[in-house]
């Protein structure tokens, strides 16, 4: 019988997943500690962090915007499939949702240009 989503997974799967998560977290911490020679830098003469920070900020903003818009598009497609008569209203809500979420990523773009 396939394991449907209605009942919780068996205990062994939960323990195995927890161990995998613990190992992943410890591996990530080990990789971060690999950068410890950075502590030996001499102070003064700081690098200019404006551009790298702008790149990272824009990347995070675009990524999260993509996630949000993906959810909107998925819900709209499913709703239009379930209820083909309401397509006009759903399409309207889809467009508004996409534009408003897009504008959040664009605010980050504007800040990128200002901070340069």
């Amino acid at each position: 019988m396939p394991n449907t989503d209605q009942e919780p997974p068996p205990r062994e799967t939960i323990i195995k997943e927890k161990k995998v998560t613990q190992k992943t977290v410890l591996l990530a911490i080990a990789f971060l500690l690999l950068a410890s020679p950075m502590f030996a830098q001499t102070p003064g003469g700081g690098t200019d962090w404006h551009l790298p920070a702008a790149y990272i900020a824009m990347g995070i903003a675009s990524g999260l915007c993509g996630l949000g818009q993906g959810k909107v598009a998925a819900s709209a497609a499913e709703a239009m499939a379930r209820n083909p008569g309401a397509q006009a209203g759903i399409r309207f809500a889809l467009i508004i949702g996409l534009v408003l979420i897009e504008s959040l990523a664009l605010y980050t773009l504007v800040i990128t240009y200002i901070a340069k």
Binding site: I95, I96, V99, E102, S103, L106, Y107, L109, V110
Partner: protein
């Protein structure tokens, strides 16, 4: 642009006088007229010419193409307005229609090579957002009177007022900012993307991004108008 050069050579004096009267520091006294201002005036002239052309050929029985298009746009704007505002929506339709057509033409004129869209300069969306902000506040004040309109800021119950009033004021100012930045960033980013891809690949490939830019132009004009409609509908809403 040659229009800007023409304006600078003939009307530089009055422009400097106006700027100094407002208190704006003029950097380049020989060229007070900017490209985006000349393009905006060009868009207004084009729209006026289109409407003049339209009025000559008005006909009930035999409408031409331009009249059909104008009727479609009008029905669209009026439908959106009446969806959001319950009664007396039609008195606000001229402003929303103007916003939509003006922003649409300003966005689209940037597709023509050699002409830069005025909305790519942050001043133009800021001016449009200020006019929209002033309009919805004026509509709310006119509809409900000063005291009742200001009482809106206090929220639903009186004892929440000290916390609601700053939040409402900030959210209203954030509407100004978001309208500006949404339009400006969409237009600016569209052009930047096309330019970036022009530097990366062959000559014709970035035209896909220009197509996307046309779609985004329509969308942003529509969204600006729609948000203005929503703000006006919130400002004139009577609680029954």
């Amino acid at each position: 642009m040659w229009i800007t050069g023409l304006l600078n050579s003939t009307l530089a004096g009055p422009a400097n006088a106006v700027l100094q009267a407002v208190g704006f520091k003029v950097e380049d006294a020989a060229h007070p007229w900017a490209d985006w201002l000349a393009t905006e005036i060009l868009v207004v002239v084009i729209l006026a010419a289109l409407v003049a052309l339209l009025r000559r050929s008005f006909s009930v029985d035999n409408p031409g193409t331009v009249q059909h298009t104008a009727e479609m746009i009008f029905a669209f704007v009026k439908g959106e307005t009446n969806d959001a505002i319950e009664h007396h929506g039609s008195r606000y339709v001229p402003f929303f229609g103007t916003l939509f057509i003006f922003i649409l033409f300003m966005n689209l004129i940037g597709i023509i090579p050699g002409i830069e869209a005025p909305t790519m300069n942050p001043a133009v969306p800021a001016a449009l957002a200020i006019s929209s902000f002033a309009y919805y506040n004026w509509a709310g004040l006119r509809e409900q009177g000063i005291l009742k309109y200001l009482a809106h800021f206090a929220g639903p119950v009186w004892w929440l007022a000290p916390i609601m009033i700053p939040i409402e004021i900030i959210s209203h100012l954030a509407r100004l900012l978001s309208l500006t930045i949404r339009l400006y960033a969409n237009m600016f980013a569209g052009e930047q993307v096309t330019l970036t891809f022009l530097g990366l690949t062959y000559f014709v490939i970035p035209s896909i991004f220009m197509g996307l830019h046309v779609f985004v132009s329509f969308l942003q004009a529509f969204i600006f108008m729609l948000l203005s409609i929503i703000y006006v509908s919130q400002a004139v809403a009577h609680e029954h």
